[in-house]
Every structure is written in C-alpha cells, then in structure tokens.
Subunit: 411 residues, 2 copies
Amino acid sequence: MTVGVRHDDLRRRNRAMVIAAVRGGGQPSRTEIAAATGLSNSTISTISADLITEGVLTVVPAIENGILKRGRPQVALGLHPRAANVIAVTLSLNSLSAAIIDYSGKVIVHEFRRPSTLTMSADELLNALAELVQSVILRMGQDLAPLLRMTLAIQGITDSSKRALLWSPITPHSNIDFADFFETRFRVPVTVENDCNMIAVALRARSPERYGKNLITVMLSDGIGMGLIQRGELFTGSRSSGGEFGHMIHIPDGAQCRCGRRGCVEAYAGNYAILRHARGECETAQPAADIDHLTMTEMANAARNGEGLERDAFKRAGEALGFALGSLFALFDPAPVAFVGLGTSAFDLIEPSIRNAIARTAGGQHNAEFDFAIQADEAPLIREGGAYQALTYLDQTVFAASPPLQVLDLA
Amino acid sequence: MTVGVRHDDLRRRNRAMVIAAVRGGGQPSRTEIAAATGLSNSTISTISADLITEGVLTVVPAIENGILKRGRPQVALGLHPRAANVIAVTLSLNSLSAAIIDYSGKVIVHEFRRPSTLTMSADELLNALAELVQSVILRMGQDLAPLLRMTLAIQGITDSSKRALLWSPITPHSNIDFADFFETRFRVPVTVENDCNMIAVALRARSPERYGKNLITVMLSDGIGMGLIQRGELFTGSRSSGGEFGHMIHIPDGAQCRCGRRGCVEAYAGNYAILRHARGECETAQPAADIDHLTMTEMANAARNGEGLERDAFKRAGEALGFALGSLFALFDPAPVAFVGLGTSAFDLIEPSIRNAIARTAGGQHNAEFDFAIQADEAPLIREGGAYQALTYLDQTVFAASPPLQVLDLA
DNA sequence: ACCCTTTTTTTCGAGCTTCGAAAAAATGAA
DNA sequence: TTCATTTTTTCGAAGCTCGAAAAAAAGGGT
C-alpha cells in the first residue's frame, strides 16, 4: 500500500518537479516551468523564490539572445553549481576513475588510474579506489560546496539495495560491500550502480526526446551488458541489478560461457567467444581471459578481407545478439538500441546478422528498420550517468524537502 | 514530464487510497484505514463520510465477532454493492462468457455460449458477443446500479490503447476494434485485455502477500501465454499487450511455430508441438489446429506409462519453458510462477524438465526451489481479473474524483 | 522623451485540504 | 451506575495552490 499524500508532501513533490524542470535543461524561465509542470505561475514564483533563497537554483544572467521580443524579458533559471558536489567513480577492467561534479553537472576534477584489477585482492582494490577518491577530494580543495553523494558505477552485478558488488568480471572477488567501505571512509552516502544502467541514464538525459521512454543499451566487450529504460524508468531487477541480457540462453546446452553455464548470449557474442570461433576452437573450450583490443581489431580486419572463420564468428555473434533482442522485443516491444563499448568497432560486421536474426523473431515482425545507435567510448557516458544518478537523487530528496525554518539571528 | 500535483489532486489521491484500502478486503474500520494509508484519523473520517454519502462505501453491520474488546467498537466499512456494476466478458477458443459483477465484486449474472469461434466471421463473432452481453444485461433487469464499465479478456494480442484485438488464435480475423463496437452498442467504456494478464491480476488480488510484488502467469494450451506483474504493477508492452513469452526464441531456426516463424517456445511447448513430436512428425510439419483435450490426456497417459516419444515430447516442452523462464529470470530476477490452463493436467510430466532447464540458466542459479503454482481452470480467474480491472479503474477514476457539489433542492 | 503595448513575474486574498487536540460516542468492566 | 478504554467526530490552525490583479520590464511608435 502506497502511503497517503500528506499536505507537506505536496510542496515536496512540486519542488521536485521544479528542480527537475530546471535540470531538464534549457535554463527555463518561470513561465516555461509553469507550462512544463502544469502548475500555476504563482506557485512556480513562490517555489522558485524559495529555491533561490536556499541556494538551490540561481538566476542566469541574460545571454545575448538575438531574439528580442516585446514585453518583460524572461528570467532564465539554472541549477546553482555551488549547491552541492557529487563524486562519480567508475570501475572497469584495469581502469579506475573518479570525478567530482558540481550541482549543475559540470566536471570539476577528474583522475584515473590503470591498475591490474584482476590480480588485486579485494582490499587492494578498495584501497586503490580510496586513494583515488582521496586525491580528487584534495584537488577539489576548499570548494565551498558540500560533497553530498557518491556513485560507483561498476561492470558487474550489484545487489538490489545498490550497496554491494555481487559479481564482476573485473575482479575474482565477490560480495564486496563498497558502499559500507566508502561511507565509513568518506562520510558520504554511496550507491553502487551497474555501468550499463548508467550509460542508459546518461543517454536518456542527453536525448530525452529519443530515449526518454524506452531504451536498451547493449555493451559489447568481453561480456555483454545491458541497461534498460522502460516507460521512462530505469529497469532493475527486484533482487539485483537485473538485466543480465548476456546470460539469456541463446542455444540450450550450447557454447561454454565464462559464467560456467552453457549457451548464453555472451558465449557467442563476447570477445572471447568471437576469438574462440575464429580460431576454430571447440565451442566448449575454456574462454580466454582479457583479450586486448588489438587482437579484436586484427580479427575484425581479417573478417572484412576474407570469407574465413573470422567472418563467420562475427556473424554468429550478431545472430546471438539478434535472437536475444528479438526475444526481448517479444516481451517489452521494440525499443531503440544503443550499442556501446569497444566491441562496436566491429559493428559493421555484426549489424547485418543482428538485423537478420531480429527479423526472424516475433519482436522483429513489425519493424522493418530498428533504431540502432553506436557509441564506442563508453567511459564518459558511465561517468555522466553516475553523476546524473547522484544529482537527481539529491534533487528528489535533499533539495525537494523544504528546509526547516531558519531562526533569525537578531543579536 | 509528470504533471504537477495540484491541490484538488490531493483529495482525489487520498480518496483513491481509502477506496483501495477497502477493496483490499477485510472490511477495515476507519482506524485501520488510517493505519494502512498513513493519513490521519480526521482525514479518513472526513473522506469516508463523503464516500458513504455518495454511496461508494457503506457501513457493514457488525458481524458476530467473538472478540469483544473494551471501548467503542470499530465500524467496518465495505464497498457499496450498488455503487456500480461492471461487465466482464471473456473470449477464448470456442467459448464466450459474460458476467455482471457488482461494485463489491460479487457476480450477479453469468452466462456463456460455445460457438465455433474459428469458423465465424468477425461480424458473426461481434454479434454473438453482443447477443450474450444483451442477454446478461436483460437478466440483470432493473438493478438500480448503473453499468459503468466493461472489460473483454481475450486470448491474444491487444493494442496498447487496449481497444482492439490485433491477433488471436481463436479467430482468423485480426485488428477487430472491440472497444469501438461495444461502446457504440452499449454506451459503456470498454477495454480489451489479454487473458493471461487478467489471470495475473486475479491471482495478485487473491494473494497479495504472495503475488503482490512479482508474479508470472504462464498459460499452457495450444499457445503459451504469459502475464507479468513486476513491482506490483501489471507489465504490458509499450506498443501492445506485450509479454509474448510464447514467441521468445527457444531454438533459433528450430521447430515450425503456428505464428509462421521458427523456434518459438510455443513450437515446443504448445499442445500442437507436443502432439507433433509424440507422433514422430517432422518438427517443420504444419501445426495441427484445435487439438481436443482428450487427445492431450491420452498422450499424457501414454507418456506416464512408457518411455516412448510421448514422454520425450513432454520433456522437450518442459525444457523450452524452463530455458525461456531462465532467460526471463536473468532479466527480471526470479519470481513466483503460476501455471494455468488445461495443459497443467500434464504438469507432472513437464515440471522436472522445467526445473532442470531453469537450473542450467543464469536466472536459475541462486534458487534451488522455485515457487510454482498450478491452476487448471483458468476461466474463473480470467473473469475475476477482468472484473477486478474494471472495478479498480472505477475506484481510481470515477469514484476517487470528488463529485460536483449537489445543489440542494429546497422546493 | 513619452506613452502604449506586450509579456513576465509578483502579490494578495480565497478556497481547499490535512492535521492535532479535544470532545463525543459507544461499549466492557467493576 | 460509574469508570476505563477505544473509536470516531468536531473544530480551529496552518499550509498549499490558484486566479485575478498589480507590478515590473522591456520594445514600438510618435
């Protein structure tokens, strides 16, 4: 049972809507916010006056807009950059990064390291991250904005409370409670997010008109990750981060997957699977670990130049992705798909068989052409999505809540 | 952008919450409603007084409850049966039924027909339904409650606006705009719902503690249907009724499916697929239509008594269901599954291979034992779900809205 | 310069709504 | 019959949003 709407919730919700309208971009005027939210001008006026007083929003100085209309000019409102800072940490194979982002979304400090994540102990990994975070915090210096939230975007499966990493291909260790560690260390609320989910969040924020309602992001790499936006909401499983697209079954009892099971999509479309087939190895052969990008590039070039096993390997990868997407579309209805990750450098090789496979499924029946997008460099998207997740959380909770009345200091 | 919460929305939402608390069952007192909704006693008192005056709720006479406590006794509130009637129509292969249900959910009139739906024209089908509906309306007679809503629960795919049937196995005709037809004929708002979705709605209403958050219903019949409840909400696709579980791909380019494609789950687990394999036919053989239950029962008995092709056919059906459920679980996380329909009479034959297949998938990794339930007779569930859908729609829209002030007649 | 027009923003009182406290109601226990 | 207990209603206070009117801030025209 949802809880009833109390009177003070009303204000909180409407404040949240105003903040969301401003974060939505375009530095809207009060009138535009009123139109976007459906609230009256007078309400928006009251709320925005409060938010400006509290330092959440700020009046943006009039830019040199060529269009000079008659009448009182609109006053553009923006997010106050000093309202808060958040820290977005990303953790991928042999790559750590941390960035401090202000309330308006601008990156203030950004650093990264390239340690060998696979060979580190869990403690070493935690300490390396802590050192990196410490470093960016120091470089942030005496920024007057308080650090209010932190997200860790990780390639792997998180628990549903978004506090721990359950499993990840970047480290042999499992069940690492990152949130606990960082919260005690840095005294900041932390959530652990799946990297593909953050990419989906970032793409939705970038192109709400295209991806605002539905979006599937598919990460092509050693493993196959997925992020899913349905009806405007990030879809996560009820017990974990969900969306384990790479481990949907493509061929029952088929090729050996890294996860120990057989026939997963990843066992056909992951880098190691493509390599294994191209080299003519048995499909039950143990997957190779950590394939460098050069090998994949060479294989892609070989596939482009000849008819051999290489070309077939990419074709099979596309089929696995296509049939799985087709099954997904049968459940969710077709949605735009954004492919991300280094694996997209060979997208020309797999796209035809993806489309061909989808067309042979129920989900692909009605659409001649699907909306595919390519984004090779996923790192900025992951950071952006992590920051956005942290910032909108602040919007909806911390800043949407009316602050307690300030006691006037009359001394 | 969601629309802002206006002041009058507040009342509407809280009225909806009170009605929902009462429909939730248990004939709660005002105090219990306050506890369930989180609203104050005084608010509940005001709202429930209004709703009683309007004839939406009613005071339930004290039942002989043995527990006599000290203090003023609680007054139980219930839904006023005469607040409205709804009509729940169900449409399955060779079977039409219509029932009039009062606002409290009690069936008042119920009739059914057994025409041959496959050989009827679309007009004949519409007219047969109209005659049936007319008949129950006549039998309802001068019931003082107004008929405010109608649902058609149909085996098949509906459009996302829930007005038309896009495709169904029970009729060769497609794109039938049922809602339009019935709305002009009977002057009642109509929605067209998928039968499996209605089963899910009914089971959730019956066992909220078990199925309130997540539930998958799988209909075993000629085709394989699915209804999905995720986070308490009925899941439907964004363009259609969605959840075309039966047409997820089990084996790429595999057995011939009724839908014209190949390798769908249904092409292994549907009745025709089981029969085809048991008879040793080629799996690309054209599916047989409309297999009677006796044939399936005989085949199930043959499978129970021998090791032949029959047993293998059921085993393969279970594998298709299990792998597909495993893929589903990889996306959604494991959820309780309720199998419904006549096909469940052979559930003892397919269950082991379902469990075995799930255990070989990513979704089945963490759960040794899944929560399976069996419900052979789906017809009452479909009716119940359809009625519930109509009634809760009325709750949330018609009755939650504050009525215009009555002008007092002082003549 | 000056006034008019146009558009945006703020102000102000009215009307709802919810809430807490107190009162009223209804019953069992003594 | 009176007291204790629990539920329900009543009533005033406080908060929120809204519409209308006023104020503010520009350009346009003479």
